[in-house]
Symmetry: C2
Subunit: 300 residues, 2 copies
């Protein structure tokens, strides 16, 4: 089944111990799509500025990502400038953010895309996420991502939104911040009570914890020795998760475990290159090969 994602499309300026790159295609919805496209057809909802390079549009089109609801606004494309320091590759230091067209962005969905049954609200202002959700016609399955900024400054909108989604993906720091619980299992339980029946806590190099009332599980991360650029790893993870669930079109324990394994596998590729250098060239053959290695790595 099809999958629609709302989020950002950005131009990233990234510095890591491996080097630095400017004007990279990035943003939560772009990274998400690059991963989810491997499983199903992906419809991207986002805004770009008039300065957005044509080559990036063509690139997304070549990857068969539906751009019917990618609108061009008046102003500049959203830009993010960040740095990762040696030994702390889990933490992105934001050097500059230029919102550009993102300020006051009110997402629009093309009429024929409003019946899409799987929806992911990638990281963006919760008010934009709520707006998108209002536009959709009774989606079957809705996933949500967020960030510390919204937890701090738009907690009311975010909590309202949490009551309307099935799955919530967030990292360990965000889970602790939003729940007020240090123990991650307690934190996940508390988040579940706030609305979403499925909670996915990403722990970076430590893997992932999944919580639902009926079952829990935890997987390690794929062992990556050279993390080149972690930007978009969480979005790539979410893309694999939602992409697989949309493809199999049935949310049960078996499929959720498999979806999280795929998500983990995809995120491991993402961190091995700048921007989408590694994920853009992926095929299911490559993904399945690494997934087999991961399964071996974590086998009892």
């Amino acid at each position: 089944m099809s999958l629609l994602v709302l989020g950002t499309v950005a131009l990233d300026h990234i510095k890591t111990p491996s080097g630095s790159h400017d004007e990279l295609l990035g943003g939560s919805a772009a990274h998400f799509s690059m991963s989810a496209r491997l499983f199903t057809d992906v419809h991207l909802v986002a805004i770009i500025g008039a300065d957005f390079p044509k080559k990036h549009i063509q690139f997304l089109q070549r990857k068969k990502i539906a751009l019917d609801s990618l609108v061009e606004g008046k102003g500049k494309t959203f830009r993010w400038k960040g740095e990762y320091k040696q030994g702390d590759m889990n933490i992105a230091l934001t050097l500059a953010t230029e919102l550009g067209v993102l300020a006051g962005f009110d997402p629009r969905v093309a009429e024929h895309q409003r019946k899409i049954s799987n929806v992911f609200l990638a990281n963006i202002d919760p008010d934009a996420q709520i707006g998108l959700l209002r536009m959709m016609r009774r989606p079957r399955f809705v996933g949500l991502d967020s960030m510390n900024l919204w937890i701090e400054h738009k907690s009311k909108s975010l909590k309202n939104l949490m009551k309307q989604v099935n799955l919530f993906v967030l990292n360990d720091g965000e889970a602790r911040m939003l729940s007020g619980e240090k123990n991650l299992i307690k934190a996940a339980k508390r988040l579940r009570k706030m609305g979403p029946e499925l909670i996915v806590v990403k722990k970076g190099e430590h893997g992932v914890l999944f919580y639902s009332d009926k079952f829990m599980f935890s997987f390690p991360a794929y062992p990556v020795e050279e993390v080149v650029d972690p930007t978009g790893a969480g979005d790539t993870f979410a893309g694999g998760l939602m992409g697989y669930l949309s493809k199999v079109n049935k949310v049960n324990e078996k499929n959720l475990r498999r979806a999280v394994i795929y998500a983990t596998t995809l995120a491991s590729f993402n961190v091995e290159g700048f921007g989408m250098a590694k994920t853009a060239g992926l095929t299911m053959t490559k993904v399945n090969r690494r997934m087999k290695d991961l399964i071996k790595f974590m086998a009892v």
Copy 2:
């Protein structure tokens, strides 16, 4: 096959958010033994003072731990006073250490125990660990644990020791400190080059990473919601690991994976009670039940 362990036997004074307890039986060798005894016969090498309570001796005897090489020195028993704060249960704050008889302890092993083929050097001064190893007659398999104190102050002895052991168990902070590598896989590789062919990096609530030249694996921790007292969790982990390997008497990938699962299971019991409150009452039936839950938790 039998298993001999050198380490500390201590009287612990512990404060955690769950309460505080005095004069608890503790120490690396004691916690290790309480776990390893479930798999094989355990021979404890340590020193106590004249003030050591008889009830603790009787308790160890009831648990069938061989005390032939537990000597009584002149002076007081080693005491450790520590605290864990809410939200940071991974970090023990040492409030006081009274070495007592531990100062200048030169371990002695009873003649009939010197042929024991499995040896574990639990956390204690590396010079005592080297002394013990010299006394043994060609052990088949030797495991080693240490701590930040020795990495900082006795790094030469520790590095010398690493060349003489098969397996090295340490936590993530220690692995990073000793190897100078932030990435844990790189850290494990570096440690392997320093001597031990098998490296086990414990990551607390994030589980464990195993490294050898031929294979690697990673398991999550058992999901414990209420951590009461983490003291001795690492020693309990090592006891399960070495206990199982000694029992099966064959070190191969299958047995190592199983040994790490047992180790993880045992450590999860340890943290649920003060001192040995939970591990003392364990039977293999209880352990196997929780191990099955853990395997289910991490199943693909």
